[in-house]
Every structure is written in C-alpha cells, then in structure tokens.
C-alpha cells in the first residue's frame, strides 16, 4: 500500500510517487547498455564482456576490462566535473579541450629532465634552469594556466555579457593556437620521474574519483553549489535575491579551467609527452558525459553523480566497440547519435514537466 505523508497545510502526498531521481534512469541505461554488450558478446563473439573467461585467472569479473573502462574516461571525466557545474549554472564551456592542449605543452616544458639515456634531452624547450624542477613547479604552472584561461572566460561572460558559447569558442581557438605556437608544433617530452607518477597506472582514476566526491559535496552542500543551481534555473531571480551572479560566474569558469588544466597534467604525465593536438574534442566528450548523465543544457538541473554515470556509459560504449572489434569510426558515429539523443531526451523531459 502506498504510504501517505502529510505536508504543510494538510495536503497529503505519496512519497513513493515522489519523482524518482533522474540518476536512476542513467544507471538503468548503463546497466542496459552493458547487458547488451554482454549478450552480443556471448551470442556472436563467444566471449564475455564483463566476466572473466580465462582459465588461468581466478576472478569473477574481467577486471582488466573494467579497469580500462574507467581509466579511459577518467581524464575527460575530470573535465566533465568542471563542465557539469558550468552547465548547471546555465553556461557552456567549449574551451576545455584546447586548454588541455595549451596547458600540457606549457606544463611539460617545466617538467622535463635534463639527461635522457645519457644524452641531453632532445626535446628541451628551456635551458638548464628549467630542467629537473621539483614536480610541484610544473603542476603549479599548469594549474595557473587553467586558472587564467578560466578567469578570462568567466570575466568575458560575466562582464561583457557575450554568450558563453562565443566566449569559450574564442578561448578554444586561441588556446589551440597557443599550443601550436609554443614549440612550433613539436612535441614536448621526457618528463622527470616525479612528474611521470601523476598519471601512472590507475592514478587518473584515483584523481577523478576523489574530485568527483569533492564536487558532489560542493554542489550539494555549499552555498556555491546552491547558487549554481539557482543561477542556471533563473538568473534574473538569483540577481534579485541578492546573489552576486557575476562573481559566481567568474568562479564557475575559473574552476572549470583549473580542472581542464589538471586533466592536462594527468594526460601529459600518463603519455610522458605533450603534443599540440592534445585534448582535441575533449570538450565535446565532457559535455556529452554530462548531458548523458542528465545534466540539462537549459541549466538548473543535473548532478555530479549523473555525470559520473554518464562517463561510465561513455567508457562502456567505447570498450564495447573495441570488444566487438568494430572500427573506431563506428564509435564516433554512435557517440554523435548518443549526444543528440541525450539532448532530445532532455528537451522532451523539459516539455513534460513544464508548468502550465
């Protein structure tokens, strides 16, 4: 029997019928997609997607694949956390991928080691003074790059009132140009051992998950988080209620920039090199993760938990396609379909819940 509870003023409601959290739907989608790959695998490949099938390994799951699923989305996932709070507060950030490129190039230039295999570093950007610096230096430089880029984004959007789409598009083109100019298109390589640790093994996952927990708490339990939702929901009302909307926007984009820079540090450390094309399309992947996870492009709705689930869906699909030995082209095409599908779903949801 449905349990009823009493609200204020004697109106009763049924808590069971309380709109279920949208994350549940995303989780359901994740389970469905994973199951689909499992079934297709069993039927057509004679192999399991999720479960261990090797005799010499004693495990229920195919941990290797599970690790890869989360590892390959964790770097873009870090960006997606920043993008999530941007979209919730009613904006969009197209610059994160390019910020990754530019930051990786600059950061790596301060993370190089002087001697490679007994010879001087062939990719050295600066002189001796920039060699073998403590790992804190390149990381600090990198995060500062992201901070500045985000600050510029935020200030442009808050004070010149140009649409976030345009402001961050400008930053996207600018930062990509910067990363090409930095070393005339040459890769920057051979980091110190200390720097190489940051992206080693499962470190990206650890960083992603810790930040996800942190941002989940920030969005749900702090003034900052509340104001993200408020501004994305009704900017005018937020202003009239005394929220310093402009300051908030600057902060939102600055944090997004810092997270993109952190992703740059992790990815350049993981690959032991930085290239000017690094982070290409990351911004769209990050936006897709958020949107798939139920973050509304209209602003005001979504959650970090949703984005994390969205990232996992992303990872499962990519791994699934590799597992089915399908070409990377299909991945791209399916990704495109999923992004548009998620937005259509959001619009549709919006229509259904809109007030009369």
């Amino acid at each position: 029997m449905a349990q009823t509870s009493h609200g204020i003023g004697g109106l009763s409601y049924d808590p069971a019928k309380n709109s279920r959290p949208p994350e549940l739907n995303v989780l359901l989608a994740l389970v469905l997609i994973t199951t689909a790959f499992e079934l297709i695998g069993r039927l057509f490949m004679g192999d399991s997607f999720l479960f261990n099938t090797r005799e010499n390994v004693d495990a229920l799951f195919n941990w290797q694949r599970l690790n890869i699923i989360i590892l390959q989305v964790s770097i873009v996932g870090i960006i997606a956390l920043g993008v999530t709070q941007v979209i919730i507060s009613g904006g969009i950030d197209l610059s994160s991928g390019s910020i990754v490129g530019a930051t990786a190039m600059i950061t790596m230039s301060f993370a190089q080691t002087a001697i490679v295999n007994g010879n001087p570093n062939p990719k050295a950007i600066f002189g001796d003074w920039a060699m073998d610096l403590p790992v804190l230096v390149p990381v600090a430089v990198g995060l500062c790059c992201g901070l500045i880029a985000g600050l510029v984004n935020g200030a442009l959007i808050a004070y010149t009132r140009i649409p976030p789409f345009i402001a961050t598009l400008g930053m996207m083109v600018f930062a990509r140009g910067l990363s090409r100019w930095w070393s005339n298109g040459n890769p920057v390589s051979f980091p110190t051992e200390g720097y190489a640790v940051i992206g080693q093994g499962m470190m990206p996952v650890v960083i992603f998950v810790s930040l996800a927990v942190l941002f989940h708490l920030v969005l749900n339990h702090t003034k900052y988080g509340k104001h993200c939702y408020a501004i994305g929901s009704n900017e005018q009302a937020s202003r009239m209620s005394g929220i310093k909307v402009n300051n908030h926007k600057v902060l939102v984009y600055t944090i997004a920039g810092i997270l993109a820079a952190l992703a740059a540090v992790v990815v350049s450390s993981k690959n032991l090199t930085a290239q000017s094309g690094m982070g290409m399309m990351y911004e769209l992947d990050a936006i897709a993760m958020a949107v798939i996870g139920g973050v509304s492009l209209q602003g005001g709705r979504g959650s970090i938990l949703g984005t994390v689930l969205g990232a996992l869906i992303f990872g499962v699909i990519i791994s699934g396609f590799t597992f089915l030995k399908l070409d990377a082209y299909y991945q791209e095409m399916v990704k495109g379909v999923i992004i548009v599908g998620a937005v259509v779903l959001d619009q549709w949801r919006q229509k259904n819940r809109g007030r009369g």
């Binding site: 509870s5 609200g7 204020i8 003023g9 004697g10 109106l11 009763s12 409601y13 808590p15 309380n18 709109s19 920030v218 339990h221 702090t222 003034k223 900052y224 509340k226 939702y229 408020a230 994305g232 929901s233 009704n234 005018q236 009302a237 937020s238 202003r239 009239m240 209620s241 005394g242 929220i243 908030h248 902060l251 005001g300 709705r301 819940r353 809109g354 007030r355």
Partner: protein
Amino acid sequence: MSNVILETRGLTKHYSGVHALSDANFILHKGEHVAIMGDNGAGKSTFVRQLTGVEQPTRGQIVFDGIEHTFASPIEAREAGIETVFQNLALADDLDVPSNLFLGREKFRIRLGPFSILDKKAMREATTQALIKTGVKIPNLMNTIRNMSGGQRQCVAIARTAAFKSKLVIMDEPTAALGVQETAQVENIIRTLKEAGEPLILISHNMRQVFDLADRIVVFRRGRIVANLRKEETDGQDVVSYITGAKTGAEFEGAT
C-alpha cells in the same frame, strides 16, 4: 526623528526614451499601509524596482528610515530592511521551497566564503515555521517548485518576506494568481503586519482589497503620481476616475 519610514523625492526612471516613472514624490509613515493603484504600464512595478535596488533610478532620492540610500543591489535594500514580493516572484524553479526561501541569504553550518557549508536542517525548519505562520499549503517542501501551482508559488514568495525581520514590506500584486481562500490568507497576513505595526506598500488592481486593507491610496498614471487619497475621504468611483485620467488630484494639477 519623524514618523516617516520612506520618502522619495523626484524619483525618476527612463528606459532609453520611455519615461516609465517621472518625479515621484512619495511618503510612507511608520505603521502605515499604502496601496498603489494604476493601469497596466502605469509605472508601479518600475517604482518598486527603484526602491528595492533592482534598478538604479535615473534621478531622485530615496530616504529610508531617516537615511538617504542609493541601493546598488536588491541585497542592499534587503539589508536595510526592505522585503519585497516581486510581481514576477523571483523564484528559481529547479530549487525546493527552503532553497527558494533562503535564496541569497542561506544559513550556514561552517563559513568558508563561497564554499560555506549549508545548514539545510535549520533552513528546512525555519521554512516550515514561516509557511505555518502564513498558512500556506504545500505538499512536500523538498520538491522543486517547478510543478507547484501558481498560487503555491506565490505563497512561497510571500512566506519569504515573513521569514525575515524587516522594516518595510512591499508586495507587487501578491494575490494576482490566487484563489478565493488563498487571497483571504494573504490578506490575513497583511492584517497581521498591520497589527504588528509593520509598514506596507501594496500594489493591487483589486478595489475591494485595497479598501479593505489600506489606509491610503496612491494612484499612478503614465509614470506619474496623480492622486494621494485617504481611504475615508474617497470611494471606488473616485479612485477609478483618477486611474483613467478623468480626474487629477489638486496638488498634482499641471503634472500631466
């Protein structure tokens, strides 16, 4: 000092060519309830927006509680003690009731600048108190207000003014979307304010309501104040003729 809580002198607002408000000289005494009437587009809401820091007047002075103010933002007006129910309500649809009630002035458990930790429990309890005080009916506080009825939303906006201490309450058409019962409820809230000696500016198109609640009626027409009428010395017919422009108050002759 005097018993004047609010005075505006020559308050004027132009929106690039549109003279939405011209030379408004307005006085409100402590404990007094004044109704503002006027046709659509007469400048009533514009007047309110200048008083509450939502917009900055083109010229003119605002003296509130003996001090001349230039409110740069709604929060400054609120900190000075002016609580407002705006005509467009100023609510965030995707937030629940407590979040809307405390929008922009949240309660905190730990203060950490922008990352201060919210005291959700305290806000929820204070919200319940405020809603009970105003007799509002809301099924579930923790639902977003998106799906609530127009009246419920209006009640949330009104409860917001009741939840905080203030020196002046301004309500811009607070009962416009309400049913009979809810209207009576809001009118009761206004009477409670009157008993407590809290001054109020009420904007309304409802003649009966205005005559029930207000001590004085100020009529706006085409951005100007055209009449200032004590309730005992006027009637509905009279007020209508000022609203439509058939009549202009003696002291305002030549103004239009």
